[in-house]
């Protein structure tokens, strides 16, 4: 009986826990509650994924309040949604369970419960985006997630987190309002807000100017939220000055949820034919993706702060996902989805390692990290493993997604695009090498010399290694990542009626 309610429980569990967390107030109790929710969330997500992959293209549908769609709001979980749910809840679980030491260090004790409340609400928003089958509902969840992540960013130690949080709030709201305009225009044309209903009613309107305007607003609005170049300027500051654990969580999940919205709208709601044949989306996205990959990778090379460096790298990695979408083929879409999965693993692993180092050294500038490799050998080794994955070294998760992307690029555009992807990987080698060089080869500075710099506490170390090991596991066994991504891509392309 409860099984039928799982799609809604996925969202309700963290949503109810958030006000509870405010009432509990004690830091330990808030953390325990968040842990419990994290465990519940991943169990539900795993069951949902198992259910939708067991059958052949099964879709779980939940009508809220018993009102059938298109009148009521409908939650719809298919392979794509369940795949994203598992990514989000997985990163969330590791960050919550293992990250407590870092949170206690960086957040004043009287504000810890607020931090976890924001965390739970952020989780609610992102999970809601992945389960909802109603376009207006998606907008509301998007705003919940963005306001809550803004709160997380503003709890950083450095005062610069405030201007970063404000910029994030402003850009996020503009992007979300653009999406609101899209929802309005779509409703005006079709009289429905349900995604499946919209998908059935939109194709005859392909020539309508209103639909074209909606499409333009959608591309810009979602592009802002997903930090697609050149709309990424809010992201580096937000990740760099957020508390370390919030950076792990946001870097692993928040742009992923936005990329999911992009896929949902372009493929499920508008339909692949409309997006690519009528609107020529790939003509627009391909140059942006390439420009983003190169510009952000070059910018990452010149950063002196590791968190900022990783944030710029995130913008480049979003570029790879967009590149996969822009190839317009099923293989490209599968590559984008598998990169979404793998990038969540590698970027949260890297931010986790940085969180461990910040805990011991006190800063995340390259100069701060000089020589910590000798003091924190295990942590530094996790950095190397996840760094290799980011670069796309064989036997790591990054290699799988780069390989899939290369194959798709060769197939659709020929050798020049594949060559550009390879060239951009070399840039990733350069910026990751700068970090590794600082950690291992640079002479120790006064701060790294002091006796307090030792290996990170065990839970943090376990978290960093869990994520780093996941990069290797999913580089060797691709059944879960690539297998499901391919099925999800087939579903998205085939969604077009």
């Amino acid at each position: 009986m409860t099984a039928a309610h799982l799609p809604v429980l996925q969202v309700v569990a963290p949503l109810l826990a958030a006000p509870l967390c405010v009432m509990l107030r004690a830091p330990l109790a808030a953390w325990l509650l968040t842990c419990a929710v994290a465990v519940i969330a991943i169990v539900i997500a795993a069951i949902l994924l198992f259910t939708v992959t067991a059958g052949d293209g099964a879709v779980l549908i939940y009508a809220l309040g018993g009102w059938a769609a298109p009148w009521g709001i409908e939650y719809r979980v298919d392979i794509v949604g369940a795949f994203v749910l598992v990514i989000i809840t997985g990163i969330n679980l590791v960050a919550v369970l293992c990250g407590r030491a870092s949170v206690m260090r960086e957040i004043p004790a009287e504000r810890v419960f607020l931090f976890y409340t924001g965390w739970l609400l952020c989780l609610t928003g992102m999970l809601g985006i992945a389960v909802s089958g109603d376009v207006f509902n998606v907008f509301v969840f998007l705003e919940i997630a963005s306001l809550a992540s803004c709160l997380l960013v503003s709890l950083g130690r450095d005062r610069r987190c405030l201007s970063a949080a404000f910029r994030y709030l402003l850009m996020g709201s503009v992007g979300a309002t653009f999406i609101l305009i899209v929802v309005g225009l779509l409703y005006q044309m079709t009289g429905t807000l349900n995604m499946a209903d919209l998908a059935a009613r939109l194709p005859p309107l392909a020539q309508s100017r209103t639909l074209q305007v909606a499409f333009a607003f959608l591309t810009v609005g979602v592009g802002l939220k997903a930090a697609v170049f050149p709309l990424h300027f809010w992201l580096p500051g937000a990740y760099a000055f957020a508390p370390s654990m919030a950076a792990v969580f946001l870097a692993g999940t928040s742009t992923k949820a936005s990329v999911y919205i992009l896929l949902r709208f372009f493929f499920s709601v508008m339909g692949a034919e409309l997006s690519f044949d009528a609107m020529r989306l790939h003509w627009f996205l391909l140059p942006l993706a390439l420009a983003g990959i190169f510009a952000a990778s070059v910018a990452a090379i010149y950063q002196s702060d590791v968190k900022r460096l990783l944030a710029f790298s995130s913008v480049a990695q979003v570029g790879y996902m967009i590149l996969g979408v822009a190839t317009g083929s099923g293989a490209g879409l599968a590559a984008a989805l598998v990169h979404l999965f793998n990038h969540a693993l590698m970027k949260s692993a890297l931010f986790f390692v940085v969180a461990c180092m910040v805990l011991r050294v006190g800063g995340a500038r390259l100069a701060d990290l000089a020589g910590v490799g000798k003091r924190m050998p295990l942590t530094a080794a996790a950095l190397v493993v996840s760094g290799l994955s980011l670069v796309g070294f064989p036997f790591t998760a990054g290699f799988i997604s780069k390989w899939a992307l290369l194959a798709a690029a060769l197939d659709s555009h020929g050798w020049w695009l594949a060559l550009l992807v390879l060239a951009s990987s070399l840039l990733a080698v350069v910026y990751m090498w700068r970090v590794v060089e600082a950690v291992y080869c640079a002479p120790k500075t006064a701060s790294a010399e002091s006796q307090t710099v030792t290996e990170a506490p065990l839970p943090l170390l376990i978290g960093a290694w869990l994520l780093a090991a996941a990069n290797v596991v999913f580089g060797l066994s691709t059944e879960l990542s690539l297998g499901i991504a391919e099925r999800a891509a087939v579903l998205l392309i085939g969604d077009a009626p």
């Binding site: 907008f139 005062r159 405030l162 949080a165 709201s173 609101l180």
Partner: protein, 148 residues
């Protein structure tokens, strides 16, 4: 401007589309303030105007020509569509939360930087960046200057 060609829009009667012109004008005004004003509070006001334009767009969309208020009445047989109004009620709540969050951050920015001007804040941040790079001082440890 293309939005003017919305559904059932009689293009031979542009005066009948006045609500769209109003919406577009308000939207662009608000958006311009968000982008151009260096004052963070004004940016917030601009964002509110921008959002209000979208609210008006939704509300005007629900109007059915000749329809009355959507309250069941024996004398009426044509009603306006109440759904956009309900949607926008939710969006207004979202807008209020965004404003509250934004103003709360502005108060903390004022306390930490002593200014709500974007240029001042950018200059202070840039100074902090270079100071940290040259002297190796952890800016995070430095106490924020109190507001005057």
């Amino acid at each position: 401007m293309v939005k003017v060609k919305a559904k059932a829009a009689p293009m031979d009667n542009p005066a009948g589309l006045f609500s769209y012109f109003g919406v577009i004008a308000l939207m662009m005004l608000g958006f311009y303030i968000v982008m151009d004003s260096p004052n963070l509070v004004k940016k917030m006001v601009g964002l509110n105007i921008f959002q209000a334009a979208v609210f008006i767009f939704y509300i005007s969309m629900g109007k059915v020509a000749g329809g009355t208020a959507p309250i069941a009445d024996a004398a009426a047989d044509l009603y306006s569509n109440p759904l956009p109004h309900v949607l926008i009620l939710t969006a207004i709540v979202v807008g209020v939360s965004v404003t509250a969050m934004g103003l709360a951050i502005i108060i903390r920015i004022k306390r930490a930087y002593g200014s709500v001007d974007e240029h001042d804040i950018a200059a202070a941040d840039a100074a902090a960046d270079t100071a940290a790079d040259t002297a190796g001082i952890d800016t995070a440890a430095a106490p924020p200057p109190e507001s005057p």
